[in-house]
Amino acid sequence: MSGPRPEVAPGPAKTGRRKIGPAATIVGVLLTLTTTHRPATDLGHLLIKHPDRAHSFDVPVGTAHVFYPEADEQSCTAALLLEVDPLRLAGGRKRGRGDSPATPETFTLGRYVNDRPYAASSLLASALAKVFRSALRGESRERAELAATPIPLEVRVPVLRCRGGAEVAVRVFGPLGWTVEATAIPLDEAYPEWGDSRYVDLRLTGVQRVADALNHLYVLLPVLDDAKHYWVAPDEVEKLLRAGAGWLAGHPERGLITRRYLAHRRALAGQALARLAEQRLTDEPVSAEIVDDGTDETVPRRPSLAGRRREAVLAALAESGASRVLDLGCGSGALLAALAGDRRYAEIVGTDVSSHALTLAARRLRLDRLPERQRDRIRLWQSALTYRDDRLRGYDAAVLMEVIEHLDPPRLPALEDVVFGHARPGTVVVTTPNVEYNVRYEGLPAGRFRHADHRFEWTRAEFTGWAERVAAGYGYRVRFAGVGDEDPAVGSPTQLAVLTLDGPDPGHRDPQDPPRKEERQ
């Protein structure tokens, strides 16, 4: 299995300068670096780019220009302008060596009309690394001493994509000794009600070594952007640690920086954080440092509600005596993994409407590596709960864990027919959020659902009413339970119902399993 396709194939770095025709490029991403150190023109030595010349470099997504809008004794400004070729960015045109298998057919509109040509911070960072390679390492043949000396600097990025708002820019640059001025840019001044865009006009002032400033920018511009333009490969860990040498380990936001830089790849981020912790040689627990920047999905507290829900569902299944079970809407297979580890389940079927989810589930269960006998117990099928599926008939039990709320209410009768009328398992375990509990979630605005795809969230009375009506209509008995800490006023965060097929149904029950008391209640 390969990971998501890179937005831009990194490709071999091209060397040498290339004359770029005006048409191949579109627009520029700008960064300026100013010093008032005297003589200010020494900046040219530090960057190893002559102030009286205009420099151009070929980079994978276009051309990088370096020029000096001012260069005198008092003040010297170097400008890095990245001219992005949107076609090369999209990878749609042949790039010489045929390293771009993509055709225009595989792109979405967003890949053509997008802001990368104007605000591509991660592109800017990689251009920076290429154009100022020596300066990043603090090397300067002519001014070695000055390269090691902090000098007054001002950095300006007029358009910087900044996820989480200007405040995040302050959080990441501030602790490094920069004075941060980040001004939000409105989306469209003709429509003030639209509010601010995701861009800020960033100005940093401080006294820093040029190499440090460049390394800060190299790491933090993509962190603020939070949308890397290339696939994050494991060697990014090395790149991060190298560029962050000397400042990242002690940075209070290193968790955020690491996770975002490594594009939320948990395994990589964990690896990097562990190594950072070694560098610091402190006793602080690493995991406690992973603070959330407020825009990611809520990190559940231990034991997580998802975990407790899974335990409750497993308990209900075990109690039913089922051995052949369906996980309807299995998603990426968290429950399946638990079922697979329990020998009492002879046949485990996970269904989901999303074939992508099934791919993830297969990966999680390591289906391709299981021994045949294990493998044969587990099946993953694409199926939709609004279509009758003969394959689902004749099972002992089915689980609908956090599934029904993803269906538009008018489609629920179809699900009822498909599950309770057609598939007709002996036991059905249903869980769904209890909307009354939502008031206990800080940060969840009133009236908002817990998940963007939830079509409804029910009160306890609504869920009970639904389950009782379904049970009566299809000949099931039903009992209810709460999952998670019960709040005296609003109940538990998750509600659970177990529906059991009425009447003698020996085919669905282990004969040695005594009748269960709660069913008679």
Binding site: P22, A23, A24, T25, I26, V27, L30, D52, A54, H65, F67, Y68, P69, A71, T77, A79, L81, P86, T103, P104, E105, T106, F107, L109, G110, Y112, V113, N114, D115, P117, Y118, A119, R156, P158, V159, I185, P186, L187, D188, Y191, W194, S197, R198, Y199, V353, S354, S355, S383, A384, T386, Y387, R388, D389, D390, H406, L407, D408, R411, A414, D417
Partner: protein, 841 residues
């Protein structure tokens, strides 16, 4: 000369020793593809056609292929010695599994001749003693074939007879595809002669009576044919009278009749079998007592000659007493007959002691309409293109007829309850055909429809399944999806990627003479299905639906209902319900402004790009100005950046043209441009003048809510008109319009001279609008050169495929085809949309 009669569909086993000339015979009389030779299969599985050790596998494969052929209804000939009983038993089994007749043709030649032929073949190594054994086997075979189940056995003796034999195909008795009707199909009569007479009269038949005033024949002035679904007799007051009339009509060629289980039982009784006189047979026997014995024997002959079911009207109609599943239609076997007469039972009995019938119609997916009786029901209902028209006349219900092809039900009430039912007549569960099955939509599917055929790849179906089940409206309401639309051929005119000249040329090349140029509204496509009754129409509860081009609810509630109310009022005010004689209408519209639905997209995608560009470029220019002031050679770069600045400004103007403030439905308008369907009718064959006229009337009824579509009708031969239309387009797009859609004036279902479907519309988008599609600077000459390499073939093919499916879906909607079939077509449109196509086209 010997003539061999073969059923058109049969499994033919050639029987004969090695060297008897089976392969030669097969070659002469059958197509190579009809002949399955054991030698060929041995070669296939073992690389050697004489490898006897491979025989088991070879026959396995042969039976498998034979099964596939028979399943598809193709005559199959097995060229093997077939001298062993077990070998023949395998063939009989395959034939029975597919309900076709097994036939044997035995070729007999003198052993000496067979040996000479065998020896002459270099590749045959078989010994003389083997041949002798074969001869012995053959002799034993003659007596066994019929017992083994071969329904016909032909024996050809000697090379001359084999040489001279000819094959003549005979149709199965049930194959009456040449009869095209029109038909009046009449439900279970059960001796209710008076009601039958009334029904025939109501259907327009003239009754002909004998000297005792008894009806003995009937004719229809329009030449219709009556079809009786069986159960003419038992329970009712005058079974002999019904038989007399029906037998007369059948004899005169005015009617055809299939047997019911009651006729079957009557025949057994008349043949002297021990049959219990229950379920009304006693009444029939008593009534027949009064008839002369000649009549009774005529009845026996008549019933004996009835064929289990009929396939009529070119295969489009099947009539059987208890219905017939697809696999059994046009087949002949004991179980086919049993199904046709008795239906399929589950083996259980209900609380009244009657057998529980398996609801085969619920699973029916065949293309033929099946009309049947057998199970009394209060109200005939279409289920998956099948209908039961037994409305329990003898139990005091009604006698019902179905007019075909009109699909109109006509019935007369019973004069009284003639016989008490064993169980009360209960309604079938409401609308059981709304149940959809996964198999109806998933997997790789080949779809044939009235406008062509296509194959939906499994992965596209998988993608569509997710969209359909997670986001789309209820399939009952999702009647149609708009096809994607191809742009005109790429223009070479300076500065243009798309230009009207190309759109006109495209249609002229397809032989179209007249087109309509419609203003292309820049909003969001909205398909509106609105019912006259706000509380429910034929699609289920609810007054209609508004959905997007991928079938999602448009705004969600309560706005969608509000929008529907508004449309419903306008349709009423314009008088369209009565004028079109419909209770619902399906409208194709664009909802304006774009920002009403796509506000998020505009802000996230377009405005964000604009904000970044607008802020970045002045800073870039300022830096370059200062560098240039220092004498650095950045003039070219500076000019380029200045142009980028102009482009981003134009880009912002382009998207802003489609932004208007709205609140709820305030500020929202609907621009209808096609009225696709109404009760019993697809309007796809109406010209665009008709469609736009109706749209105008909606605008007139509610000018605040509806936006008219500006248009021009252009004769493609009229150069002046073309020039005027081009100017009109230039003006329209210069004023911020998206562009126009050029359509064949003849209407959505327009076809080319050669009879193939035309692109229903070709879009021609304005220069400024294209900035938000291709990027702010797309019209830089070099960019344009690259973009002109775009290829339209895929997009056009997709547009046509989706269009054909859409037209078929509209026809199905009008013709009342079952939901699974309609849904399959709409689903396929959605699946086509997951085809990878450049989204900018």
């Amino acid at each position: 000369m010997t003539t061999l009669d073969l059923p058109e569909l049969a499994l033919v086993a050639l029987v004969g020793v090695s060297g008897s000339g089976k392969s030669t015979f097969a070659r002469r009389h059958f197509l190579p593809t009809q002949v399955l030779s054991s030698d060929a299969f041995r070669a296939m599985v073992a690389d050697d056609e004489n490898d006897q050790s491979a025989s088991a596998d070879a026959f396995d494969a042969l039976h498998y292929v034979a099964g596939k052929r028979l399943h598809a209804g193709r005559l199959t000939v097995v060229d093997a010695t077939n001298l062993q009983p077990h070998a023949r038993a395998g063939l009989v089994r395959v034939a029975r599994e597919h309900d076709v007749l097994p036939v044997a043709i035995v070729l007999e030649v003198p052993e000496a001749l067979a040996w000479a032929r065998t020896e002459a073949r270099a590749d045959r190594t078989l010994g003389r003693q083997v041949l002798a054994r074969m001869q012995r086997d053959l002799r034993r075979t003659y007596g066994q074939l019929a017992r083994e189940g071969f329904r016909k056995v032909h024996v050809l003796r000697g090379p001359e007879e084999i040489e001279a034999a000819e094959i003549r195909y005979e149709r199965l008795y049930n194959d009456r595809r040449e009869l095209t009707g029109p038909f009046d199909i009449i439900g279970d009569v059960h001796g209710c002669r008076a009601e039958l007479e009334s029904l025939l009269v109501r259907l327009g038949w003239r009754l002909h009576r004998d000297e005792r005033d008894r009806p003995v024949d009937a004719t229809h002035p329009a030449g219709r044919t009556a079809v009786f679904v069986g159960d003419l007799v038992d329970r009712g007051p005058d079974s002999p009278g019904v038989l007399r009339l029906v037998m007369g009509m059948v004899a005169a060629g005015h009617a055809i009749c299939v047997p019911g289980n009651h006729e079957q039982k009557l025949l057994r009784r008349l043949r002297g079998r021990d049959v219990r006189l229950t379920h009304g047979l006693a009444e029939t026997m008593a009534q027949l007592e009064a008839e002369p014995p000649e009549f009774v024997s005529e009845v026996a002959t008549f019933v004996d000659g009835l064929v289990s079911h009929f396939v009529l009207d070119g295969g489009r109609l099947v009539v059987a007493h208890a219905g017939l599943k697809e696999e059994y239609q046009g087949r002949a076997s004991g179980r086919v007959r049993a199904f046709a007469l008795f239906g399929e039972t589950t083996g259980e009995t209900d609380e009244y002691g009657l057998p529980v019938r398996y609801p085969w119609a619920r699973d029916y997916r065949g293309s033929a309409t099946v009309v049947y009786g057998h199970t009394p029901t209060p109200e005939p209902e279409w289920i998956n293109n099948t209908i039961c028209i037994d409305t329990g006349c003898v139990f005091g219900g009604r006698l019902t007829a179905l007019r075909y092809p009109e699909r109109e039900l006509v019935s007369v009430a019973a004069e009284r309850e003639w016989y008490a039912p064993a169980r009360p007549l209960t309604a079938a569960p409401a609308r059981p055909d709304q149940v959809l099955e996964l198999g109806d939509v998933t997997g790789r599917r080949h779809i044939e429809h009235g406008y062509g055929s296509l194959t939906v790849p499994a992965e596209n179906a998988a993608a569509a399944l997710e969209v359909m089940s997670r986001f789309a409206v209820d399939p009952r309401w999702l009647t149609w999806l708009p096809p994607t639309m191809a742009p005109c051929s790429t223009s070479r005119q300076e500065g243009f990627l798309e230009h009207p000249a190309e759109a006109f040329a495209d249609y002229r090349a397809a032989g179209v003479e007249r087109v309509v140029c419609e203003e292309k509204h820049m909003g969001s496509r909205a398909v509106v299905l609105v019912c006259r009754d706000p509380d429910g129409g034929p699609f289920g509860p609810g007054g209609g639906v508004v959905h997007t081009r991928t079938g999602r609810p448009f705004f969600g509630e309560p706005l969608d209902t509000e929008l529907l109310d508004r449309v419903r009022r306008a349709v009423g005010a314009a008088g369209l319900w009565d004028e079109l004689g419909t209770d619902w209408l399906l409208l194709d519209t664009e909802l304006l402004p774009w920002s009403a639905k796509a506000g998020g997209l505009i802000r996230e995608q377009y405005a964000a790009v604009g904000a970044a560009g607008r802020t970045a470029l002045p800073a870039v220019r300022e830096a370059l100005d200062r560098a240039a002031g220092r004498g650095l050679p950045v003039g070219e770069l500076r000019d380029r950046m200045a142009r980028r600045h102009d482009e981003i400004s134009a880009y912002r103007a382009a998207y802003r043209a489609y932004v208007r403030p709205t609140e709820g439905l305030r500020g929202v308008t609907l621009a209808p441009f096609a009225v696709l369907a109404g009760s019993g009718a697809s309007y796809a064959d109406r010209d665009h003048g008709w469609h736009l006229d109706l749209a105008d009337r909606l605008c007139a009824a509610d000018p605040e809510f509806f936006t008219p579509t500006r248009r021009r009708v252009v004769d493609l031969a009229d150069e002046a008109a073309l020039a005027a239309a081009t100017d009109w387009w230039l003006a329209l797009t210069a004023a911020g319009g998206e562009g126009m859609v050029v359509k064949p004036y003849a209407g959505p279902a327009a076809r080319s001279e050669r009879g193939s479907l035309l692109q229903p519309g070709i879009k021609c988008r304005g220069r400024e609008y294209l900035r938000i599609i291709y990027g702010p600077g797309y019209d830089e000459p070099e960019q344009l050169t690259l973009l002109r390499q775009r290829s339209l073939g895929r997009k056009r093919g997709l547009a046509l495929r989706e269009h054909g499916l859409g037209l078929a879906a509209l026809d199905g909607l009008a013709g009342g085809v079952p939901l699974w079939r309609r849904h399959g077509l709409v689903f396929a449109i959605l699946a086509c949309e997951s085809e990878p196509v450049d989204p900018r086209l």
